[in-house]
């Protein structure tokens, strides 16, 4: 196949490109410029997006003997990922920008451009597997190395996108092996640190960064009864489940720590309470997609007038959260998930990814939650 390898400058994408070359594909490397004003040096735990990273990617491509280009997606990235991130927070939700980037940039803007220019697929260094299902429709599965599995952030990919995605690292048992392989291949990026911060927030301080972009006004921190127990500098800087940074002078009546239960931009209130009030019995969302065949076509659920009936699955609500057994069904255009045990710390705006075994079935953006304790409204 003629494939386009997205190369961030990090070790994973370099080894993924190398494996694509070794597998006999006709590989071209491309680095996505996501900022018009990139930082010069790599800093902290960011693994991409600086001039230094771009040059690392160029060098790795040169060592692999593949052509390499830098393509400018900064305008699309700003609109689809950065602006979306800000507006989601401004609305009191907690978005996942990496998923948005996969959905709108890597497997949309980049993939579209790749297909237009005659490529068959985009190669990335994600840890996940795509396999052909019984009817030939692609299926997305967790990586062999559970600890590195990134299928969650790929849960937004649709059938068509999966058909044109190649993840050569999916069956690698550990990241150490990828680093060793980079070393053995002389790719020069073997010892680069893993990236785990948000790439467009160079200082790593999301709250400060948001404060420069969202007009924030002081407001009240209230308990679940509505009693004012503190003040904040702007509700939008808070995330459900957050414990630090509340600066409540008065301890709670029972002395137990308090957590952010709800962010209400409309009234500029932050609702806090005990940990058990974070428990969520039901989540729902109308913005969903299926990674391959839908639950009915896959034979997991019975079809109904509303879509599909209850089926057993697992739900994962963060990149590094454990999957929780649940039932999912569709009603009134919405995907609804009821976990067997309450979920803890769910924020609207997060993405719920549904699994059956290792297979990713699909995802939806959480629009609403129902508290298990009924103390949060």
């Amino acid at each position: 196949m003629k494939v386009l390898a997205a190369m961030s400058g990090g070790v994973d994408s370099a080894v993924a490109a190398a494996r694509a070359v070794e597998a006999g594909h006709d590989v071209t490397g491309v680095h996505l410029a996501l900022s018009r004003m990139p930082g010069l040096f790599r800093s902290g735990s960011r693994g991409c997006c600086t001039v230094e990273d771009s040059l690392d990617a160029r060098k790795a491509a040169g060592l692999l003997g593949i052509p390499f280009y830098v393509w400018d997606f900064s305008a699309q990235f700003t609109e689809a990922v950065v602006d979306d991130f800000v507006s989601e927070y401004a609305a009191g939700r907690t978005p996942n920008p990496c998923m948005r980037c996969n959905e709108r940039i890597k497997f949309a803007a980049l993939l579209d451009r790749a297909l237009e220019l005659g490529f068959d697929a985009v190669v990335t260094g994600h840890y996940a597997n795509v396999v052909d299902g019984p009817d030939g429709t692609p299926e997305l599965h967790r990586a062999s190395a559970w600890a590195k599995d990134q299928s969650y952030v790929l849960g937004v990919l649709t059938t068509e996108q999966l058909r044109h995605a190649l993840f050569p690292l999916g069956d690698t048992p550990s990241k150490d092996l990828v680093r060793a392989e980079a070393e053995r291949r002389g790719l020069g990026v073997a010892n680069k640190p893993d990236s785990h911060d948000i790439c467009f927030i160079p200082e790593g301080d999301t709250r400060d960064w948001l404060a420069d972009r969202i007009p924030m006004t002081e407001g009240d921190i209230v308990d679940t009864d509505g009693a004012v127990i503190g003040h904040h500098d702007g509700a939008q800087a808070f995330t459900v489940g957050q414990r630090k940074g509340l600066n409540l002078g008065v301890p709670s009546a029972d002395g137990r720590p308090r957590f952010v239960l709800q962010v209400k931009p409309a009234t500029n209130e932050v609702v806090v309470g005990p940990k058990e009030d974070l428990d969520i019995a039901e989540i729902g969302g109308a913005r969903f997609s299926w990674a391959g065949n839908d639950p009915v076509t896959s034979g997991f659920a019975a079809a109904t007038d509303d879509g599909f009936d209850e089926f057993d699955c697992e739900v994962q609500i963060r990149a590094h959260a454990d999957p929780e057994p649940a039932v999912a069904f569709q009603r009134d255009g919405e995907i609804i998930v009821r976990p067997n045990e309450p979920l803890n710390g769910v924020a609207t705006g997060q993405t719920a990814v549904l699994y059956v075994g290792t297979r990713v079935i699909g995802q939806f953006t959480i629009d609403r939650t129902i508290s298990a304790t009924a103390n949060v409204h």
Binding site: H31, A33, R36, P38, V51, S54, L55, R58, P67, Y69, V70, W71, D72, S74, R113, E116, L117, G118
Partner: protein
């Protein structure tokens, strides 16, 4: 399969490769007293003689530098300090006698970033002389801006992006009447248009060897004895205006490259112009919406620069590269990304116009041009929204 990016760098002729690689075998430092040193020195002198002859300058007035960019920095900063005194010579807080620097917004970054540095570090006042939609300096605006307090005028002789050739004689005449020195960046001129520095009235002129098939790492600045230039690089005083060991092999090769590039220059320019016009005419006929940028007639014989509304230059360059054609978008890049061209902006070209720059050399043939013209329309169609 052809190379259309000679303005970025030009292939080295076999004779230059031979000259360069044979000279590298010499072991003496060209400033050393012994005969080994003398042999190296002679090669360096021969190289400088040939390079000087190629630009019509007295060899002793030509300073060899490490790049065209360094030559431009030396000219602009050196002339500015020559006209205003160095910071060490000036009274603290004293006003600069000639703070204004005149240039255009369509310059190469080697000049633009240098004048901006002078503004920040030295308090220079940078004023941009208007260029018209062809990139040509507005002489009336230049005349209006000239004055006693102008340190220097610096501009491109030949615009590196769009190929426009400036009215050099008129610029020099206006500046000379006002007693102001002129520096010209002639990096894109050498080898395409005859240069006669000694009779030009210019204060300084910079060139670069690798643009004409010499080695990367050799630039040169010709300086008139009428003007004082303060050096940037201090040390062993190997040259009057630049310290650092003399690059005997590089300068020897650069001299030969310049000699080859400028011999029979009229014949060469005529041949390149014919290729250029064949390409430009072909593009304008076959690519809807394409506009030839730069001046229609006062342009480099080797430059075809077109813009197309909605063209994604990066995608088009990729497909051209894949088909074996090395082409450029013309503008400077940051981390490999092409920013909207400041040159095109100075010429009032809209940002949504995607640019393609083809710069030709003598090894290009009519069949190269025709092969390019066969695939270009479909590539543009595929990469235009």
């Amino acid at each position: 399969m052809a190379y259309f990016d000679h303005a970025a760098t030009s292939p080295m002729p076999a004779a230059v490769i031979d000259a360069w690689t044979s000279a590298v075998h010499l072991r003496g430092n060209a400033s050393a007293i012994h005969r080994d040193g003398q042999k190296s020195r002679l090669l360096w002198e021969e190289g400088r003689d040939q390079l000087s002859a190629a630009i019509g300058a007295n060899p002793f007035d030509v300073t060899l530098t490490g790049s065209g960019t360094e030559a431009i920095n030396l000219a602009i900063k050196g002339l500015f300090w020559g006209r205003n005194g160095t910071p060490a010579e000036r009274e603290p807080g004293a006003a600069l006698p000639r703070p204004r620097v005149l240039t255009t917004e369509a310059e190469h970054h080697a000049a633009l970033d240098t004048v901006h540095w002078l503004a920040q570090a030295e308090g220079a006042i940078v004023e941009f002389v208007r260029v018209d939609e062809t990139g040509t300096v507005d002489l009336a605006d230049l005349a209006a801006k000239l004055g006693d307090d102008v340190a220097l005028v610096t501009t491109l002789w030949t615009n590196n992006e769009v190929g426009t050739i400036q009215p050099v004689a008129e610029i020099v005449a206006l500046a000379s009447a006002a007693g102001v020195p002129v520096h010209l960046d002639a990096v894109a001129t050498l080898g395409y248009t005859a240069i006669d520095f000694a009779n030009s009235g210019l204060a300084a002129l910079s060139v670069s060897a690798h643009k004409v098939g010499g080695p990367v790492g050799v630039g040169a600045l010709a300086v008139s004895r009428d003007w004082s230039i303060i050096p940037l690089i201090h040390g062993g005083s190997q040259q009057r205006l630049r310290s650092g060991s003399l690059d005997a092999a590089g300068v020897f090769a650069a001299g030969l490259a310049a000699q080859i590039a400028t011999s029979a220059i009229d014949t060469k320019a005529a041949r390149l112009s014919a290729l250029r016009d064949r390409l430009a005419t072909g593009i304008l006929a076959a690519v809807p919406g394409a506009t030839l940028r730069g001046h229609a007639t006062n342009r480099s014989p080797g430059n075809v620069h077109v813009t197309i509304p909605g063209l994604n230059s990066a995608s088009a360059l990729f497909l051209l590269d894949e088909a074996g054609h090395s082409v450029s978008a013309g503008s400077a890049c940051t981390a490999g990304v092409h920013a909207p061209s400041h040159v095109l902006r100075a010429m009032d070209v809209a940002d949504d116009e995607g640019a393609l720059r083809f710069t030709l050399g003598l090894e290009n043939s009519e069949s190269d041009i025709d092969a390019l013209l066969r695939i270009l329309p479909s590539i543009v169609a595929r990469t235009t929204t």
